[in-house]
Symmetry: C2
Subunit: 172 residues, 2 copies
Amino acid sequence: MQDQHRSGCPINLTVEVVGDKWSLVVLRDMMFGNRRHFRELLNGSMEGIASNILADRLRRLTSEGVISKADDPSHKQKAIYSLTEKGIELVPVFAMIGAWGSKWLPVTEELSIRAKLLAEGGPPLWEEFMEDLRVTHLGAPPDPDRSGPDVRERLQAAYEAVVARQSEAHRS
Amino acid sequence: MQDQHRSGCPINLTVEVVGDKWSLVVLRDMMFGNRRHFRELLNGSMEGIASNILADRLRRLTSEGVISKADDPSHKQKAIYSLTEKGIELVPVFAMIGAWGSKWLPVTEELSIRAKLLAEGGPPLWEEFMEDLRVTHLGAPPDPDRSGPDVRERLQAAYEAVVARQSEAHRS
DNA sequence: GCAACCAGTTTGAAAATGAAACCAGTTTTA
DNA sequence: TAAAACTGGTTTCATTTTCAAACTGGTTGC
């Protein structure tokens, strides 16, 4: 059960878990897109992941404890994938990666609005987002004091607003 | 000069640049280990990178503008690799990845002390580290008001202190 | 009963990775 | 001054990973 690891360095070990071309993209879709089923992740994937690669990544991320898999009671064949606490705590990593990518790489406006808002919100917003994810993915009890859309829904609304504005501008 | 990219999403684009098993490890050694020459990166690599893979990664990171390459005036054959501003600004990403890896993966104490201190120091320490890297890698003028070891040296000293303590404990 | 949907698996070709040997020129050492 | 060691890599070939497409066995809705 011990060391197949290249080293005990936290950077290296993290790279061993999510250092490939697809893992973070799949986790992004689960976290920000609320995609929880295989077909949702497959057909909704903006980057066009292949089904065998998706199956492999879901298997690996599950075995690493970053996500978990459960039967969907509504359908005998449906499996529902959820972020674990370990996966949820990748939120700050996504925030930093999103900020760096937005600053230095050729992002499109509509796809970087979420990253922009998440960076601007800082640690308090990340905490709120993680708390929402615990409710959605872990079944944690929702905070009775809060109301209105959760963080993911707000980010999604901002994305849609940009798309609508672009479509408006394009029409004219 | 346009889209060979899978999408314009900042997460995806970042993954396209550093989403493999070696790029972040090489950048880590440059940033935290101050390894600037090919042989230093090759022989000093804790994880044992192969020379052809190292050559390929240095080429790719250079073409992405994350690092740069220059002749070393002290030796006709020596090349010196430096972080660019784009590379230096990965410091917060490393800080978050290091924190996550330290919390959730089987790190060793001596190799996670740097990540721990960097996380505890927060954004002010990251800023200071980045300013030091600009001096070391970009030739920026050093702040005349500061003195003593720079951030990298302090992290290195902390690492060595842990190793020394372990060696002490082991001897008894 | 049949079409659409479910989570994947299979197949075979292309690309990436990895270990080891190797290279030509440069600098250091005896 | 000749040999040894060092410089940044390249070459070779075997193994592993990726990828697209076709396919599978079962489930659900109409």
